[in-house]
C-alpha cells in the first residue's frame, strides 16, 4: 500500500506556544484514518499545516511521495524554538493553500465555511474554477463557452450524485445544518482530490444524521477512490469507520492503532477521562 500523506516531525509553534509537537504520521492509499484527541490538542492546527494555511515551524510533509512542505526554525524562532529535530530539515519549501488544493488535497472546515450568499450550485461551481484553462480575457469575452458548459455539467452531475440537485438554486447560508456539511463535502469533492481532509464532519449532528454521514463518507470514498483523513469527536462514527486512529494530546501523538487497540489503550483513556485516583 502506497503512502498518500506523510508528516515527518512536524512542529507548529506560535510564539512560545507549541500547538503541534514533533508530529509524525502517515496515511495510506484508500484508508480512512481518524485523528482524535481532547479539545486544544492541536488537531485542526495539524490540518492547517497540511493544507498550507500555516507554515510549520519545523518538519516536512510529503504528498504521494513528493515533498510539498518543509521548514526549519528561522529568524526569531531560532531562539524561541522548543521542539526537537531542528537540524533535520535543511530545505525550505512553502506553498500557498491554493497550490496544495491543486495537488489534490481537499478539505472541509470545523466551523462551516460556505460562500453563504451564493447558491448551492455556485458554491460547487467555484471549486471548478481552478481547473479552468481560460484566461481572464477569454472568459470575459465568453470564448470559453465549451469549458464553462463542461464545468456546469460536472457540477450538475456531482450535485445529482450527492442528492443535492433539488437544492441547487437555494442560497447556501439558508440550508439546514446537516445539508451545509454535506455541501461543504460536495464542494471539496468538486476539486477532484485524491486526499480528503474532514474537520469534524459530524459536529452538531444528531445520531440519525451521523449514521447518514457515515454511509455518505463510505460511499464517496469508494466512488471517488479517495483517501480520507478526518478529525472527529463522535466516537461511534470514528470507531465504526476508521481503519486506523491517531490520538493527539498536547500536540503529540500518544497512541496509534486500529479502533480496538485505541479503545483499550490506557493512555487514551487517561487523556479522555482523566487519571483515576485510587483510594
Amino acid at each position: 500500500m502506497s503512502e498518500v500523506l506523510r508528516l515527518e516531525n512536524v512542529t507548529m509553534q506560535f510564539g512560545g506556544v507549541v500547538a503541534v509537537n514533533d508530529l509524525s504520521l502517515h496515511v495510506n492509499q484508500g484508508e480512512i484514518v481518524a485523528l482524535i484527541g481532547p479539545n486544544g490538542a492541536g488537531k485542526t492546527t495539524a490540518f492547517n499545516v497540511i493544507t498550507g494555511v500555516y507554515t510549520p515551524t519545523n518538519g516536512a510533509i510529503y504528498f504521494n511521495g513528493d515533498l510539498i512542505v518543509s521548514n526549519h526554525p528561522q529568524g526569531n524562532m531560532k531562539k524561541l524554538y522548543q521542539g526537537e529535530n531542528r537540524d533535520k530539515f535543511p530545505t525550505v519549501k512553502v506553498q500557498t493553500p491554493d497550490a496544495i488544493t491543486r495537488l489534490g488535497v481537499a478539505r472541509t472546515f470545523q466551523n462551516i465555511r460556505l460562500f453563504k450568499d451564493l447558491t448551492v450550485f455556485e458554491n460547487v461551481l467555484i471549486a471548478k474554477h481552478m481547473r479552468a484553462k481560460a484566461g481572464i480575457f477569454s472568459a470575459t469575452l465568453r470564448l470559453n463557452a465549451k469549458e464553462e458548459q463542461a464545468m456546469r455539467k460536472e457540477t450538475q452531475n456531482l450535485l445529482e450524485i450527492l442528492g443535492l440537485q433539488d437544492l441547487s438554486q437555494e442560497i447556501s447560508g439558508s440550508l439546514p445544518y446537516g445539508q451545509q456539511r454535506r455541501l461543504e463535502i460536495a464542494r471539496a469533492l468538486a476539486t477532484n482530490p485524491s486526499l480528503l481532509l474532514l474537520d469534524e464532519p459530524a459536529a452538531g449532528m444528531n445520531p440519525q444524521e451521523t449514521d447518514e454521514l457515515t454511509a455518505f463518507i463510505r460511499q464517496i470514498k469508494d466512488d471517488y477512490h479517495l483517501t480520507v483523513f478526518m478529525i472527529e469527536h463522535h466516537m461511534d462514527l470514528v470507531m465504526e469507520i476508521s481503519d486506523r486512529i491517531y490520538v493527539l494530546d498536547f500536540g503529540q501523538t500518544i497512541a496509534e492503532g486500529d479502533p480496538e487497540e485505541i479503545q483499550n489503550n490506557p493512555r487514551v483513556i487517561e487523556a479522555y477521562l482523566g487519571v483515576q485516583e485510587d483510594a
Binding site: F115, L125, L141
Partner: protein, 380 residues
C-alpha cells in the same frame, strides 16, 4: 413574466433611451442642463461599477478611485489638447519639448488615425493606470479591509500631489491645471453627445461579462470567505490583483471621459471628495449590484445637481419668505435624503441583487397591495 415580455421591455427601454438622446441632440441649447447631468451620471456610473467590482464583488475596500481617475484624465487631456492651444494652456512654464514634438507628430498623422486618437488617449491613460495598479497592488493587496483603504487613499493623494507639483509644470501644468481639452469625439458618425454613453455602456457591459464569468465567481468567493476560497484552489493574490487592475483600468477610462466632459481639469478635482462621492453612489446603489450602481449614479447626480436646485433659491409664499431656502440648503436636504435611504434600505437600493423585470413587477404588485409595507425595493 414571460421571457418574450421581458425582452420587449428591455428593447423598449433601449429604444426610448436612444430616442431621448436624439431628441436632446436636436434641442441642445434648451436641454443643456439635462444633457450635462446625464453625461456626468454615465461617467460616474462607470467609476461606480468599477469600484463595485472591487468593493462589492471582490470585497476589497479600496479608496484610490480619484487617483486612478486623475491618471486617466491627465493623460487623455495632455494627449488631446490641440497643438495650437498648447501655448495658451502652458502659459506659465511652457510645455516639455518632447511632449510638443510627440503632439506635433500626432497631428501630422493621417486623418483616420486622428479620428481615433481621443479613444487611443483614453486607452493609453487607462493602461498606465492599470500598470500603476499592478505595481502598487503587489504590496498593498496583502493588507486587509481598513488598512487597504488607507493605503489606497494614500496612493491617490500621492498621485494628486505629484500632478500638481512644480516639477511637473511642463507636463501637467502643475497647480494651474489643464484646459481647452476638446470635447467628446463622435463615434460611428453619431452626434458627439452619444459618446460618453456609448463608452460607458461598453465599459459596463465588459465589467458585467467579467462579473458573470468564472473569474467573477472566484472574486465573489474571495469576498465571501478568503480562507475557503483558497481551499478551493483560488490564488488570492492573483485574483485580487486582476480585480484591482481591471477596476483601475475602467476607472481611468471614466477619468478620460471626465476630462473631455469638463473641458478643463486640475489636481483639486481629484481630491478625496471625489472618491467619497463615488463611494456614496456605490453604497446607495448597493454593494454587489451593478444595476444598483448605475441607477444610483443617475439618481444621486440628478438630485444633487438638479432636482434639489430649487432649495437654493429664495422661496416666497404669499409674501412670506420661507426661511432656510438659500444657497447650500440643497446639500442639507440631500444629506437628509441620504440618511433616510440608508435607514430604510440598509443594503442600498438594490442590496446585492440585480434589477430584473420580474423584480419590478413584484415591487409594483406589493406596492398595490400593501402601500404601507412596500419597503423591499425593486429586488430581483
Amino acid at each position: 413574466m414571460k421571457k418574450s415580455t421581458k425582452y420587449v421591455c428591455s428593447l423598449a427601454v433601449a429604444v426610448i433611451a436612444v430616442a431621448l438622446l436624439f431628441a436632446l441632440d436636436a434641442n441642445k441649447t434648451g436641454a443643456g442642463m439635462l444633457i450635462s447631468i446625464l453625461q456626468k451620471s454615465a461617467i460616474l456610473a462607470v467609476v461606480a461599477v468599477s469600484m463595485n467590482l472591487l468593493n462589492g464583488f471582490t470585497g476589497l475596500f479600496s479608496l484610490g478611485q480619484a487617483g486612478f481617475m486623475s491618471i486617466g484624465a491627465y493623460i487623455t487631456a495632455i494627449l488631446t489638447i490641440p497643438v495650437k492651444n498648447l501655448d495658451g494652456v502652458y502659459y506659465m512654464s511652457g510645455i516639455a519639448p518632447w511632449l510638443r514634438a510627440l503632439k506635433e507628430g500626432m497631428e501630422a498623422s493621417p486623418s483616420w488615425l486622428q479620428a481615433i486618437y481621443p479613444f487611443l488617449a483614453m486607452i493609453v491613460g487607462a493602461l498606465v493606470a492599470a500598470g500603476f495598479a499592478a505595481l502598487i497592488g503587489i504590496p498593498v493587496l496583502r493588507l486587509k479591509s481598513d488598512y487597504l483603504a488607507i493605503a489606497t487613499l494614500g496612493f491617490s493623494e500621492i498621485i494628486r500631489a505629484i500632478f500638481s507639483s512644480p516639477q511637473m509644470d511642463q507636463i501637467t501644468n502643475g497647480s494651474y491645471g489643464l484646459n481647452k481639452v476638446p470635447t467628446f469625439p463622435s463615434v460611428f458618425g453619431l452626434p458627439s453627445l452619444f459618446t460618453p454613453f456609448i463608452v460607458a455602456a461598453v465599459s459596463i457591459a465588459l465589467l458585467v461579462l467579467l462579473i458573470n464569468s468564472t473569474y467573477g465567481r472566484a472574486f465573489k468567493a474571495i469576498r465571501e470567505d478568503e480562507i475557503a476560497a483558497e481551499a478551493m484552489g483560488i490564488n488570492l493574490f492573483r485574483h485580487k490583483e486582476w480585480s484591482f487592475v481591471i477596476s483601475s483600468f475602467f476607472t481611468a477610462i471614466a477619468g478620460g471621459l471626465l476630462a473631455m466632459f469638463m473641458r478643463s481639469i486640475e489636481a483639486k478635482t481629484f481630491s478625496i471628495t471625489l472618491t467619497y462621492d463615488i463611494l456614496l453612489i456605490v453604497v446607495i446603489g448597493g454593494l454587489g449590484s451593478v444595476t444598483g450602481s448605475v441607477l444610483s449614479a443617475f439618481i444621486v447626480t440628478a438630485s444633487k445637481e438638479w432636482w434639489l436646485r430649487f432649495f437654493d433659491q429664495p422661496l416666497i409664499i404669499g409674501g412670506w419668505q420661507v426661511p432656510l431656502f438659500r444657497t447650500g440648503f440643497r446639500m442639507v436636504i440631500f444629506s437628509l435624503l441620504l440618511m433616510i435611504v440608508v435607514l430604510f434600505y440598509r443594503q442600498g437600493l438594490m442590496g446585492n441583487k440585480e434589477f430584473t423585470w420580474d423584480g419590478l413587477a413584484r415591487f409594483f404588485r406589493k406596492l398595490g397591495k400593501k402601500p404601507a409595507q412596500a419597503k423591499g425595493g425593486a429586488e430581483g
